[in-house]
Amino acid sequence: MKQKFDIIQSTCIPIQIDNCNTDLIIPARYLASTTRDPKFFGDAFMHDLRFDADGNAVSDFVMNKAEYSEEPKKGVHEIIIGGQNWGSGSSREHAAWAIAGYGVRVVISSSFADIHRNNLLNCFVLPVIVSREFQQELFETVAANPQAEVRVDVPNQTVTNLSTGHSESFDINGYKKYCLMNALDDIDFLLENKGKIEEWEEKR
């Protein structure tokens, strides 16, 4: 799950659902598990939209269409383009585990819910915020050509639609960028700062 970030260039899965909440990303019944197996959560990703009550694939859902159904690997479907307010609702990090477990490394949207955005970052999936216009352009490009590639350049903080050449820059703070590019966890940083915490407690 912890791969260093640099430049990701890949085809995309367009999930054009606004307010796609974390209950949709992973239904509650998968939350009772105590496992950390990425495959368990990856298999549950968007489960109730991908499969009907009998477990059959729902043929008209985007992830089941031939052109988007290949599982992510380097250069293929490593990027999701999501609808606005992606990841609203429940704080379940299982939603980020499902996205990471499925093999996705970047989610692009015009807006993310706050908790889910942090969860993605903690799972080494990069949330990229673009304008609504650019989000719409990306949906149109990928619909017209499922082989279209998008390039996410973390060092330079840019996202480029290689079909049109259009590009936008995205925000990420310097600390988190450093963590992503070096595959470092927040928890390790905090553990290195124990002294400061005890100092703070004493003078409180």
Partner: protein, 486 residues
């Protein structure tokens, strides 16, 4: 990680949303935030000290595994409180039949024993839904920073605390260090002014605000609720309002503590006692937004514009006053029409339809939103002397054993029983389909819970969100009913 430069800023200057702070006045959120800054990471988040971490069984097993991986102990176990609530059944609590849910609840107990954490076990008098138990035991106090791996942690903000939902990685961070790395949110004040009309509750206020500002209207903000309507609300009402902050996109919903807060907390189990109480109240009285505090955003609503409300769609913002019709297609922005129609298709409703009078199959009173004593009093006030409709399955689920005991002490259980209702055992119950209280596919539920998402109460289940008064009236008639007309 030596390359990261750290600066210890005593003024707590945040890296975004901080314009309010440079003004003269300081808002409530900033007062509490600033008092908990351990350090400011340069070009990065704040390391924030956490006074209270709550743990439930669903979002913590993997966090404890992280601690075991790293071979570390819980840093401040006495500041952590744990209890199972999502998987607990509401019909009996001798056992959990589902082996996966049972294992999760057992795992929490084992983790708490191993790491020395206070644990309120299923079926004991201390147990209940975390967001009901925390305030009612005064484990959540004014001025605190509170986190839990649960988005409805915003509830605890009603006592005048910064309370936020976090993910499991962040739970591990807090277990390991009693701190968390967070970017400071922007601040928003929502004022509600005036007297609420008859039959209108805190739940209706929240559903009204969501419909006005959408479910992402407060994303990126910490909200403070203020104004005369909020000042006149009971503590239970305030907890309902703060609970629903996340449904507007805000992780935190604060209300400045006042005499109502102090009266609610006084003498509760973990409240400071004697001199310590008096000292604490003196400190808590300083927790308010200065008159000249500037917010990144400020909005005001009039209580008289609010009526009993219901939702018609599959997000909590898709709602109407109970006597209104679902919008027609023409009334919806063109860009939103596709989503509007797909919501209605799932709900089996039509554009322009009036929902009053629509038959319901299930009625649910409970959840961290409306599982408190006042909610049961309200429900009982409607059903007293009447009979439950035969076509309706009703789940009445107290938010904690303390609430359940109070219901019995006040004789409310008798009123409910005479009206054909059964009082169940404390649990998250039908709020999220992780225990046996699932609404079957296609059935229509009217519920006091917080989310009407697709499949939330069970795969294929359809949910209308409403107040305890509306749910009670509907449980009597068997159709969506305006409590003012019953």
């Amino acid at each position: 990680m030596k390359e990261i430069v750290i600066s210890n800023t005593s003024d707590g200057s945040p890296h975004r949303g901080g314009d309010a702070q440079r003004a003269e006045g300081v808002c409530l959120f900033d007062k509490i935030w600033n008092a908990h800054i351990v350090q400011q990471v340069e070009d990065g988040p704040t390391q924030l000290y956490i006074d209270r971490l709550y743990c439930h069984e669903v979002t913590t097993p993997q966090a404890f595994d992280t601690l075991r991986d790293k071979n570390i102990r819980v840093f401040r176990p006495e500041q952590v409180v744990a209890m199972p609530d999502h998987n607990t059944p509401s019909d009996q609590q001798e056992r959990i039949d589902d082996p996966i849910g049972r294992k999760q609840v057992e795992t929490l107990a084992k983790n708490c024993a191993e790491f020395g954490i206070r644990h309120f076990a299923m079926g004991t008098k201390d147990n209940g839904i975390i967001h009901v138990v925390g305030p009612e035991k005064a484990l959540s106090l004014p001025g605190m920073t509170i986190v839990c791996g649960d988005s409805h942690t915003s509830t605890h903000g009603a006592v005048g605390a910064i309370a936020m939902g976090i993910g499991t990685s962040e739970v591990a961070q807090v277990l390991a260090s009693q701190t968390i790395l967070q970017s400071k949110p922007k601040t928003m004040r929502i004022n509600i002014e005036g007297t609420l009309p008859e039959g209108t509750t805190a739940k209706d206020v929240a559903l009204y605000i969501m419909a006005q500002m959408t479910t992402s209207g407060a994303t990126g903000y910490a909200v403070e609720y203020a104004g005369s309507t909020v000042r006149n609300m009971s503590m239970e009402g305030r907890l309902t309002l703060s609970n629903l902050s996340i449904e507007m996109g805000s992780r935190a919903g604060l209300i400045a503590p006042d005499e109502t807060t102090f009266a609610y907390l006084k003498d509760r189990e973990y409240a400071p006692k004697g001199e310590a109480w008096d000292k604490a109240v003196e400190e808590w009285k300083k927790l308010y937004s200065d008159p000249d505090a500037v917010f990144d955003k400020e909005v005001t609503y009039r209580a008289e514009d609010i009526a009993p409300r219901i939702t018609y769609g599959t997000n909590p913002g898709a709602g109407i006053a109970i006597d209104e019709c679902i919008p027609t297609l023409e009334e919806i922005d063109e860009a939103d029409r596709q989503q509007f129609l797909s919501m209605l298709e799932y709900m089996q409703f039509q554009p322009g339809q009036k929902l009053e009078g629509t038959p319901v199959d299930y009625c649910f009173l409970g959840a961290c939103t409306n599982g408190r004593i006042e909610d049961f009093r309200a429900f009982a006030s409607v059903v007293k002397g009447k009979k439950k409709a035969d076509n309706v399955v009703a789940w009445l689920v107290p938010g904690s054993w303390l609430v359940r005991q109070q219901i019995i002490d006040e004789g409310i259980d008798k009123i409910l029983e005479e009206a054909g209702f059964e009082l169940r055992l404390p649990s998250c119950s039908s709020c999220l389909a992780m225990n046996p209280d699932k609404v079957p596919a296609g059935k229509l539920s009217i519920s006091t819970s917080n989310r009407n998402f697709v499949g939330r109460q069970g795969p294929g289940a359809r949910t209308i969100l409403a107040s305890p008064l509306v749910v009670a009236a509907s449980a009597i008639t068997g159709v969506v009913t305006d409590p003012r007309k019953l």
